[in-house]
């Protein structure tokens, strides 16, 4: 059976123009332009007659027994961590309720990589745009780091190279500049209109610092300072353009200095806004980070990570960093929610693990409870938030099977706690 307008939740762009063929044991996108986009659908191919069953300590169990076991682990835990959160809105809603009930900590699997954008928003605010706005309005695109095109394979055809636009010819044939350090391996691009600037600087972060200096001061470069000269021309290009969009992805920045780097990009845009339109398009959310953070923020009033130990939700990015909590043995039980891909397994840890996961997931032997659930967008209906935090896309149910729904499983656990 063929389904149209299927949303792909496997990167933050959430393309929804897929035609997908569903047969007894395969799920095949028919019009995928990039091989990277097919992988997650291929993982969903399994025979309905042989659905994976829940497990307790590696042994098959009923769903009811698995839920009871999970509840008993959580009842005996003093500081549980609810993480993963690679899931749709409905499951994230229940994950928050579960965390509140057990007075635990909730954080996304990629929490540390999501934090810098949020921290800059908290301290300074942001200047942002969205995918369709960039597609139709932008005449000048600056991309920080070529790897962005690999991570978001359809950024080009969905946003940067439209066949037509609501704006002038310059918004159809956008100026596209990719900036990175020569420390990065040289890239080849299919498109010949890309201005590829590999600059003689130690890293991307230092390049962005120089650009910020140029925007904020009146700088005259030395004769042999080609980096500054090229960045001066980029600055001028922004001043000469109608609508410039700066694109970055936190996951591709040096995480230790990402907050400072994003703050610099933000300050660059805010300064330029005094004269021209220049806006940001941060890309991320390929593991449901945006969805999880939006739900947590509206339900608790603060962004991830959140601890409920004191009875009210508290945001503390250091204390409640899920990755560090596991590393430092600060949690005594882990609930891992991961429903989109079989690859997103929980981190290796000795504490009791409850995995509510993709049915194709291979969990480690020391997993206390594994409950395979339906894949949102294939087995269950769902909702997912896009990288720009504005659009929420529906995920269709395109296959019938008996796998339980993640949000129902979580809800049953809450009721029994």
């Amino acid at each position: 059976m063929q389904f149209e307008h299927v949303t792909c939740p496997h990167c933050g762009i959430l393309c929804d123009d897929l035609s997908v063929e569903v047969s007894e044991s395969t799920v095949t996108p028919l019009n995928v332009l990039h091989s990277q986009c097919t992988k997650a659908f291929q993982q969903a191919g399994f025979d309905n007659a042989n659905l994976p069953t829940p497990q307790i300590d590696g042994k098959e169990s009923t769903l009811q027994m698995a839920i009871e076991k999970a509840v008993s682990i959580l009842k005996n835990s003093s500081q549980p961590l609810i993480s993963g959160l690679i899931a749709d809105v409905q499951a994230c809603r229940e994950a928050v309720a579960l965390t509140e009930k057990v007075r635990g900590v909730i954080d996304h699997a990629n929490g540390p990589a999501s934090r810098p954008n949020i921290a800059v928003m908290q301290r300074h605010g942001k200047v942002k745009t969205t995918l369709a706005e960039a597609r139709n309005r932008a005449d000048n695109i600056i991309i920080f780091g070529s790897e962005i095109l690999d991570r978001f394979p359809r950024l080009m055809d969905r946003v940067l190279e439209p066949n037509q636009s609501l704006g002038s010819e310059n918004t159809v044939n956008k100026k596209i500049t990719i900036i990175e350090s020569q420390a990065q391996p040289e890239k080849k691009f299919k498109q010949n209109n890309i201005n590829y600037l590999r600059l003689d600087a130690p890293n991307l972060e230092s390049i962005i610092q120089i650009l910020e200096l140029i925007v904020h001061t009146d700088i005259t470069p030395d004769e042999d300072d080609n980096v500054t000269k090229k960045l001066l021309s980029i600055h001028q290009q922004i001043l000469d353009s109608q609508y410039s969009v700066l694109i970055w992805s936190t996951g591709l920045l040096n995480i230790a200095s990402a907050e400072q780097t994003i703050q610099s990009i933000s300050q660059i845009m805010k300064s330029l806004m005094k004269q021209v339109r220049c806006v940001g398009l941060p890309l991320g959310g390929s593991k449901g980070e945006i969805t999880a953070n939006q739900v947590v923020t509206w339900q608790t009033g603060v962004p991830l990570p959140v601890g409920f130990m004191g009875g009210t939700p508290v945001h503390d990015p250091l204390l409640y960093n899920g990755v560090d909590m596991l590393k430092n043995n600060e949690a005594d039980a882990l609930v891992w929610l991961s429903t989109y891909s079989s690859d997103d397994i929980p981190p290796n840890t000795d504490i009791a693990k409850i995995v509510i996961g993709h049915p194709g997931m291979k969990v480690s032997k020391n997993t206390s409870v594994f409950i395979p659930v339906g894949i949102p967008g294939i087995d269950t209906r769902g909702l997912a938030c896009r990288t720009d935090s504005v659009a929420t896309l529906p995920l269709q149910k395109i296959r019938n099977n008996d796998l339980p729904v993640a949000s129902d499983v979580l809800n049953k656990m809450i009721e029994m706690l």
């Binding site: 942002k128 923020t297 009033g301 769902g382």
Partner: protein
């Protein structure tokens, strides 16, 4: 099974009942005035010394959508300084200016509100707005969807599309976004800001080739001809600019006699007189409302203290960012539809401008003669959080309290306002009009906002006391659809509420050109853009209740 409410003083302006002592019954979630033969009273509430009103309705409060989450993120300190512990029935939460969703629902119910309307639903963000509202328990919800800065409607107006084609698009967007009204924010201005234009006056041609007047004219007619009960809900041009009262009056005129609602009109009632080139034009605005029967307005009163402003008006939010407190701001262009700007503000009584803004809001309340055409709002959270309503009611009902408050604001602002000379004190009947009967009427919620036979049993009961602020802050009892949900100002049972929508009839062939528009320019396909009733119930988490449109 019937609930008997006996001995209370009823304030039900929809039926001209002004404080009459009368018994009412609740049967199957509805109001009745006589006990049906087949029913027995199983619960009686003695309401002697109590005031009985319908559940209150807030027709303009920013409680859902991306801008609210941005505000929550930017207000971390405020969130943590206002923790709300949960209990066996309520979720915990955070926040004063922009509370978490659960908290907002509980606080509204605890003040006797039973319905709230989010006035800035971006079409592409409608799912999120509805999800947040679905997670706002206790009250019914609804949204006004933003048009008038989207490339599709601007292009229709610019190219001279017929009124009926515009009507079809307006109806389509109401269906697709599951909303109850149409909102215009700074008509054409948000779009113009994307072209680096920093100001747009009512008769100025925008980069889209249209004027704000054209937009208001076409959209107010569309709403009227489709029979949508709520008039076009308009955030006028030039918000916050000294001298903007002229463009506000021009915006009223742009509707050419058709119904138009001017929202948070306090922010649009400024003159440019005096030593500080900033003055009150409340008198001119009130006079314009009094003499123009097609106009309604909500005030958007400011209160002193810390809050955060969230608006679709990127142009004017960017203009105001230098006044941000704390010093941070967010501006976002959105999806060829609109935008959003989020700027924290601290209104201070010792600031001349803030003090005069406070006085201007009250002057408008006191000078608009007809309480059916002026509504009690603070444009939550932009003027102040909604939790300040009881204080605002006291300012309106008690002249000496008001004048005491006036006497300590910035001295120059006192000189520029005639507030102290205004003798009017709102009555309970008038408060019931502006917070119950009138909002229900203007939204087309025929079974809400009153206590007549067959009305939905949303009932708020206040215990009479001298301090009107305390009275309105903590009702003795609140019934939502017949369920007792609040006792002595505290939630005792949680309920979900529904989403009120309208679905006017239209020519479905408009989807042909829309499909092409979505395929050519948008990054979402048209089928996924539309939200079905079924998706609202099953995924988003709120059932829709459809209200009729009466096409002219």
């Amino acid at each position: 099974m019937a609930i008997k409410l006996t001995g209370g003083e009823i304030y039900d302006p929809a039926h001209q009942i002004d404080g009459k002592q009368q018994d009412i019954y609740i049967v199957d979630g509805k109001i009745t005035h006589t006990l049906p033969d087949n029913q027995k009273v199983t619960e009686t509430h003695d309401l002697s010394n109590c005031i009985v009103m319908a559940g209150a309705i807030d027709l303009h409060t920013h409680i859902g959508g991306g801008k609210v989450n941005i505000a929550r993120t930017m207000m971390l300190d405020d969130q943590h300084q206002h923790p709300h512990p949960g209990n066996h029935i309520c979720h915990s939460g955070n926040g004063h200016a922009v509370p978490s969703t659960f908290t907002a629902g509980y606080r509204y119910a605890e003040m006797g509100y039973t319905a709230c309307f989010e006035p800035a639903v971006l079409p592409v963000n409608a799912r999120q707005a509805h999800m947040e509202m679905a997670d706002t328990p206790m009250v019914d919800k609804g949204g006004y969807v933003l048009l008038g800065n989207d490339d599709f409607s601007l292009s229709m107006i610019q190219s001279g599309a017929s009124q009926s084609a515009i009507n079809d698009y307006v109806a389509w967007i109401l269906h697709a976004s599951q909303c109850i009204g149409i909102k215009v924010v700074n008509a054409g201005g948000i779009h113009a800001f994307k072209f680096n234009k920093r100001r747009l006056d009512v008769d100025e041609t925008s980069p889209a080739g249209v004027t704000p007047r054209d937009i208001i004219k076409k959209l107010s007619r569309a709403v009227h001809e489709l029979g949508v009960p709520h008039p076009l809900h308009v955030h006028a041009s030039n918000l916050g600019i000294p001298g903007n009262f002229k463009s506000t009056i021009e915006t009223m005129a742009a509707a050419e006699g058709l119904p138009i609602h001017l929202t948070h009109i306090q922010f649009h009632s400024y003159g440019a007189e005096g030593d500080f080139n900033f003055s009150s034009a409340a008198c001119e605005i009130a006079e314009a409302i009094n003499s123009t029967p097609n106009v309604t307005a909500d005030v958007g009163q400011i209160m002193f203290g810390q809050t955060i402003t969230t608006s679709g008006d990127t142009m004017m939010q960017y203009f105001g960012y230098e006044h941000a407190h704390p010093k941070k701001w967010t501006v976002m262009d959105i999806e060829c539809e609109a935008g959003c700007g989020v700027v924290p503000f601290k209104y201070r009584d010792k600031s001349f401008v803030n003090a005069l803004q406070w006085a201007i809001g009250l002057e408008i309340f006191l000078q608009v003669n007809d309480p059916w055409r002026v509504f009690l709002t603070t444009d939550h959270p932009n003027g102040a959080p909604f939790t300040s309503y009881p204080h605002l009611i006291k300012l309106l009902m008690n002249r000496s309290f008001r004048n005491d408050a006036f006497s300590i604001i910035h001295a120059e602002a006192q000189k520029m306002s005639n507030l102290a000379s205004m003798e009017r004190e709102y009555s309970l009947y008038e408060i019931a009009i502006m917070t119950r009967a009138a909002p229900a009427k203007i939204l087309g919620l025929s079974d809400h906002g009153h206590l007549g036979e067959g009305a939905t049993a949303n009932v708020t009961i206040y215990r009479k006391q001298d301090d009107i602020e305390r009275m309105f802050a903590k009702p003795a009892l609140v019934f939502k659809n017949g369920n007792l949900v609040v006792r002595d100002g505290e939630v005792i049972e949680t309920v979900r509420g529904v989403t009120h929508v309208v679905k006017p009839e239209y020519d479905k062939s408009i989807e042909k050109s829309l499909t092409k528009y979505f395929d050519d320019y948008q990054t979402i396909s048209l089928p996924n853009f539309k939200i079905s009733n079924d998706e609202m119930a099953e995924c988003i988490g709120s059932e829709v209740k459809i209200h009729p449109c009466t096409q002219s």
